[in-house]
Amino acid sequence: MTEKYIIKQLSIFSENKAGKLAAIAKIFLDTGVSIQAFNIAEANNFGVVRAIVDKPEIAFNEFAKQNYALQYTDVLAIKMKDVPGGLYEVANLLGGLGINIEYAYAFRTGAYGALIVKVTNPRAAAQKIIDAGLELLPAKDYNF
């Protein structure tokens, strides 16, 4: 069962304009949703804000209500050892498993870090990753 490892990332379309990020952050604040991991991908005059939050449905509904273009994206969070070479170990292993990473971003909290990865087929990839001996953070532990 890999379903519990599928994390619902919010992917929010945003223009690259002054004040746009603040407006997005304000919605999280106003809905009392806390952001666990956050990343911005930019191209030309626009970008996608990616956020992993503790209450994704609440945030999603509010953004939709405010007319944002957004989507849930299934991602995995791979626990990384908080030692030098932690990222190398994970990345090397994924490569060895033939898992193609569309994008990834790292974050850390407390005792350990994690690598958020977007892969083509997250459910199959999750199984391979567990079988290979790495630890995935389950979705219910958004406040890892």
């Binding site: 992917s11 379309f13 223009e15 007319n67």
Partner: protein, 428 residues
């Protein structure tokens, strides 16, 4: 200097008589066209009701939209074995407007261009570089034929490859140049960067887009030539309908080939000399596609003063459009064309804004498009692909490269009533 002094200076009764004769012939040709047959029937008139030039007012207007509905050959008044050339022009939706020419049409057209070029001092012995698009755009082949007719050595240089164009002007000793005014400005700048000496140039004919007296001064000083305004449109053959004489004060429109009216674009009422309105033209020498009272959409006025050169009544340099058509880099663009192109792309919403700027004398088209939130995938690469797709769709529809910016749903202005989606920020 005249190419056809008799026709160019025809005035008064003699002119009116010729106009009426040719109008009647034109009306009779239009009766081969379903659209005009129906128009006459609906208006309760027959060709024999048009007995004087004043009777022309009994005939309803023909609009560009009518031509579009006739795509491709609905307005053809002759069988295809008499058609000698086909051009197209951009329309208000994806479909172009087709214009066709008989052999006589091509001859009449090139004769008008011969008049114009002779009027501004060009003749056999001149080397004439035609830096315009030679494909479907009538400014290429049209001007070319006329320049050949008067015996110029014509260089069909087309558009682009500006350095090569400048080298040719220098190496060949080019004396006459035809292009859009914005391309002339670009050529000027590149020539200055190259420290090129273009002193052989003496006459520049510039048309297909609006340009100011400031731009004229600039072009004349920097290129060392006299710059003349050229007016035309494919529906009326192409360029050459009206042209400036050496007085550089208004354009002579050829009254033996075109019956000119100026109307109030809202009411359709005829306006007098000196009053600004929409130019309505009845071409009376066209065979393949005769039109009656064609609304050009261009705003101008008939000028009151006679011209010292002895030719007929002039129209003022173009003062704008009565519809929402834009001319960008010499190409006609309707906002509805942009709308049409965007409609076929599901990832974008129905909201867009168009900005036109002039950067270094070149027109720049920027289009802001709202994302459709229902089809947003969440992936950045899809957005980049979408942007490329929109640029491509616009390029295909408009034949113009536009910058496309994706914006958030709901971020563009909403309009009550008529939408103002176009902001023309050009200072000409």
């Amino acid at each position: 200097m005249f190419w056809n002094e008799k026709m160019e200076t025809l005035h008064g009764h003699a002119l009116e008589e010729l106009q009426l004769k040719r109008l009647k012939e034109t009306i009779s040709r239009t009766q081969n066209v379903g659209f005009y047959k129906k128009m006459f029937k609906d208006a309760g008139i027959t060709p024999s009701d048009i007995r004087s030039l004043d009777d022309l007012h009994k005939i309803p207007f023909t609009k560009k939209a009518d031509l579009r509905n006739g795509y491709p050959f609905g307005f053809l008044a002759v069988p295809m074995n008499q058609v000698n050339r086909i051009h197209t022009t951009s329309g208000t939706t994806g479909k172009p407007t087709v214009v066709a020419y008989t052999k006589n049409d091509l001859n009449t057209w090139s004769d008008l261009i011969a008049r114009n070029l002779t009027m501004v001092g060009l003749k056999a012995g001149d080397i004439f570089q035609n830096a315009s698009n030679y494909s479907l755009f009538t400014g290429g082949l049209g001007i070319h034929m006329g320049a050949e007719k008067i015996g110029c050595a014509v260089v069909p240089s087309g558009v682009g490859n500006t350095k090569r164009q400048i080298e040719m002007i220098q190496d060949f000793g080019v004396t006459g140049l035809h292009c859009t005014p914005s391309y002339a400005m670009h050529l000027t700048e590149v020539a200055e960067e190259m420290h090129a000496n273009l002193e052989s140039l003496k006459v520049g004919c510039f048309g297909a887009e609006a340009w100011s007296e400031n731009m004229r001064r600039d072009l004349q000083n920097r290129l060392g030539l006299k710059a003349y305004d050229s007016y035309g449109m494919s529906e009326l053959f192409g360029p050459g309908v009206a042209f400036e004489c050496p007085e550089q004060n208004g354009l002579h429109i050829w009254h033996d080939c075109y019956i000119v009216e100026i109307i109030d674009p809202k009411t359709g009422e005829n306006l007098g000399a000196g009053e600004k309105g929409e130019l309505v033209v009845t071409p009376i020498m066209k065979e393949a596609m005769p039109f009656l009272r064609y609304r050009t959409g261009d705003i101008t006025m008939l000028m009151e003063d006679e011209c010292p050169c002895g030719r007929g009544q002039k129209i003022a340099r173009l003062l704008g459009r009565s519809d929402d058509m834009l001319t960008i880099r010499g190409i006609n663009v309707f906002p509805s064309q942009i709308e049409h192109a965007l409609k076929n792309i599901p990832e974008v919403g129905d909201q867009f804004m168009v900005y036109v700027d002039r950067v270094n004398y070149q027109d720049e088209l920027t289009i802001e498009v709202e994302m459709n939130k229902n089809v947003f995938s969440g992936e950045l690469k899809d957005l980049s692909n979408l942007q490329t797709k929109i640029v491509k769709a616009l390029q295909d529809t408009l034949s113009l490269r536009a910058s496309v910016e994706l914006v958030e749903p709901g971020s563009l202005p909403r309009f009550e009533g008529k939408a103002k989606r176009v902001i023309d920020r050009r200072v000409i």
